[in-house]
């Protein structure tokens, strides 16, 4: 006659049973997490071209800007850009006799997110001089990054300046030698580069750029 033996608490059988429960619990838990993650991942497929334009660029590119040094591109003619904003309205950066401040922005860049409201308030309070245009170039757009699409962000900020939407490879930014965002380029009426600067510059910096643009 055989006698059944109870597994000792803490014995080999009990340990195997406990391990089995851990594995079963882990698999069930993982399944629940997957189900929950799938149920809230309900973003509809979107048009991948949103946030990009198809600008044309004519002229020699400016060399890449090196922060903290004298801009070697001062005096060079910046390329002419013909593009459009997010609604398809034509916007160009061309030698039309008006001085210009060109501002390159990336939607995911926290410094751009800080700078845009400062610039808009500066414009709203009448600081942009007569005869000087401020044109933004929306570049480095990336569907997978935060604060997308850029036009929603700019509209929320009440952005009033004309904007050129750069293409997927950042053609306009590359031709203007952008090294970081936000990135400013000041041009005279003939598209001659008067100076470039990268980073948040605030109201004081904007006043300095406006004065530089007027001098051109």
């Amino acid at each position: 006659m055989t006698q059944k033996t109870r597994p000792k608490p803490g014995g080999k059988d009990a340990k195997s049973k406990a391990t089995l429960w851990w594995i079963v619990g882990g698999v069930v838990g993982l399944g629940l997490i997957v189900a929950l993650a799938a149920s809230i991942a309900t973003e509809p497929e979107v048009d991948a071209s949103i946030g990009f334009g198809d600008p044309t660029v004519e002229g020699d590119p400016l060399p890449v800007y090196a922060a903290g040094t004298q801009d070697v591109a001062i005096g060079l003619t910046a390329p002419t850009v013909t593009g459009a904003d997010w609604e398809g309205n034509p916007v160009s950066i061309e030698p039309n006799g008006n001085s210009k401040i060109i501002l390159f922005l990336a939607h995911w860049c926290p410094h751009c997110q800080n700078e845009v409201p400062v610039v808009q308030e500066w414009i709203d309070t009448g600081n942009l001089p007569e005869g000087v245009e401020l044109i933004s170039v929306v570049t480095a757009t990336d569907r997978s990054r935060t604060n997308w699409p850029p036009q929603d962000w700019l509209e929320e900020e009440g952005w009033t300046s004309p904007s050129v939407m750069d293409d997927q490879i950042g053609t306009v930014a590359a031709n203007y030698g952008m090294a970081g965002t936000p990135f400013y380029v000041v041009l005279d009426g003939e598209n001659t580069n008067l100076g470039r600067i990268s980073g948040e510059i605030g109201v004081e910096g904007l006043n300095a750029l406006a004065a530089l643009a007027q001098s051109g």
Binding site: T19, W22, G29, I33, V34, L36, A37, A38, I40, A41, E43, E45, V46, A67, A106, W108, C109, P110, H111, C112, N114, T139, A140, R143, S144, R145, T146, G170, A173, M178, A179, G180, T181, P182, F183, S198, G199, E200, I201
Partner: protein, 175 residues
Amino acid sequence: MSAQTILFFNNFFAILTVIALVGAVGLLVFRMVKGPEAATLLGDKAVWLAWVVALVATVGSLMYSELFHYVPCRLCWFQRIAMYPLAIVLLVGAIRREAAVKFYAIPIALVGLVISVYHNVLQFFPSLEGTSCDPLVPCSARSIEMFGFMDLPFMAGAGFIVIAVLLAFYTKAEE
């Protein structure tokens, strides 16, 4: 990789992060309430759980860079340098049932945690590292934003915390 797939994995890792953090806090509270006997709750499974956390974090970070094409920034690399060895060291320690694994793993996890904390602070205060964004891989820009605050460095930091807490329990169990 479609945006829908990336969103699924963002959700998946975000939910895992929350559960792991809640679990770690629960363990600490349990330890405070129950005293040293709480250490027997997990026994030597604590080091296996810590290894699972390190493995999921390692696989997850590789998925983001190699499948979803998120280029890791400088600080992300430092956190990877801390997390990736843990996936190996903890496995070896778990298989060999070596209590000494804590002496190697906890310091690595704490170094990783310090970098994660700095990375999170930098994302809230980008001016700490200059005034402009590198157009390719800025440390100050968020790659994803889950539940309004959670980015990849937050998930990494949570992973380091959970690993350290689990290993602290493993230590107690061995004593």
